[in-house]
């Protein structure tokens, strides 16, 4: 149990550390880094490399945006096996639908309830 959590912490932390390295040493903006991470997640999943990493690191692999890519990639691959060509179009988005819809609904609610404050 404790070991699992140690692996989650280390792997998740390392992915974020790579992100910070990119922020510091390249002039990539955070939006570009997020795009790179999600795309990398999809590609690594397609190559069969991300699945073992998820089994090893748990949330340390699924919570960072590469994990969002994994969800999209795995969704597409599984759906193709199940439904054929149509699955290529629907698989990724279906798998990610829960997360996207949560963010949209909660974002809307936050806009209704809260007003932005100036930065400190």
């Amino acid at each position: 149990m404790l070991l699992t959590y140690a692996r989650v912490f280390l792997c998740g932390g390392l992915i974020c550390l790579v992100g910070q390295l990119l922020l510091l040493y390249t002039r990539l903006t955070s939006a570009r880094i997020l795009v790179a991470f999600v795309t990398l997640g999809v590609v690594l999943t397609a190559l069969g490399l991300y699945e073992p990493f998820v089994e090893f690191a748990g949330a340390g692999a699924t919570v960072p945006l590469t994990g969002f890519g994994y969800l999209l990639g795995k969704g597409a691959i599984d759906a193709v096996a199940e439904k054929g060509l149509l699955g290529a179009l629907t698989g990724g988005t279906t798998a990610a639908a829960g997360g996207i819809a949560s963010a949209i609904v909660l974002g809307y609610l936050a806009a209704v309830l809260f007003t932005p404050k100036t930065k400190e």
């Binding site: 959590y5 989650v8 912490f9 280390l10 998740g12 932390g13 390392l14 992915i15 974020c16 550390l17 790579v18 992100g19 910070q20 922020l23 510091l24 955070s30 939006a31 880094i33 997020l34 795009v35 991470f37 999600v38 795309t39 997640g41 590609v43 999943t45 340390g60 699924t62 960072p64 945006l65 969002f68 890519g69 969800l71 999209l72 990639g73 597409a76 193709v80 054929g84 060509l85 699955g87 290529a88 179009l89 698989g91 990724g92 988005t93 990610a96 829960g98 997360g99 996207i100 949560s102 963010a103 949209i104 909660l106 974002g107 809307y108 936050a110 809260f114 007003t115 932005p116 400190e120």
Partner: protein, 152 residues
């Protein structure tokens, strides 16, 4: 001295006189905060699996939802931007950062209306992530389909 030389000289001067970030410390902060957010995610997942008795897929969604909810709440309360200032990529790269990038413009553009502001600007930062993530997943799906035809 021609223009190009002048620009080159000036570039060198700018590099020499511009301040450098405090690198080791900011890397540590990103590592620790990022790691903690993931650990929290694992906690939510285990809670879903063991206490709520959800299946793997349900537990993953529960975990994402809880993290997104927390991020939306902290963004609304004006705390997440301070966390971001402290942790950098540590709070940008996890799914909570993705949620923050949707919630913050939604709040910001409220005054431009709920359709033309909130609705239109919600994905101004996060949109590209969906565009490239989903497009790549479709490409991967197609590739697997073609490979399946060839192999099967």
């Amino acid at each position: 001295m021609n223009d190009q030389q002048r620009q080159q000289n000036y570039d060198d001067m700018v590099k020499r006189l511009s301040p450098k970030s405090e690198k080791p410390f900011s890397l540590l902060k990103a590592f620790v905060v990022g790691g903690l957010i993931c650990t929290l995610g694992q906690g939510f997942k285990d809670l879903a699996l063991q206490v709520l008795r959800l299946d793997q897929e349900g537990a993953s969604l529960f975990c994402s939802f809880c993290l997104i909810f927390l991020s939306a709440l902290l963004t609304g309360l004006g705390v997440y931007d301070r966390l971001g200032k402290f942790a950098g990529a540590g709070s940008i790269v996890p799914i909570t950062g993705f949620a923050n990038s949707i919630v913050s413009p939604a709040m910001e553009f409220k005054r431009e209306g709920f359709v033309t502001g909130v609705g239109a600007k919600m994905f101004v930062v996060a949109g590209p992530v969906l565009v490239y993530g989903i497009s790549t997943s479709v490409a991967v799906g197609l590739l697997y389909y073609v490979l399946g035809l060839l192999g099967g």
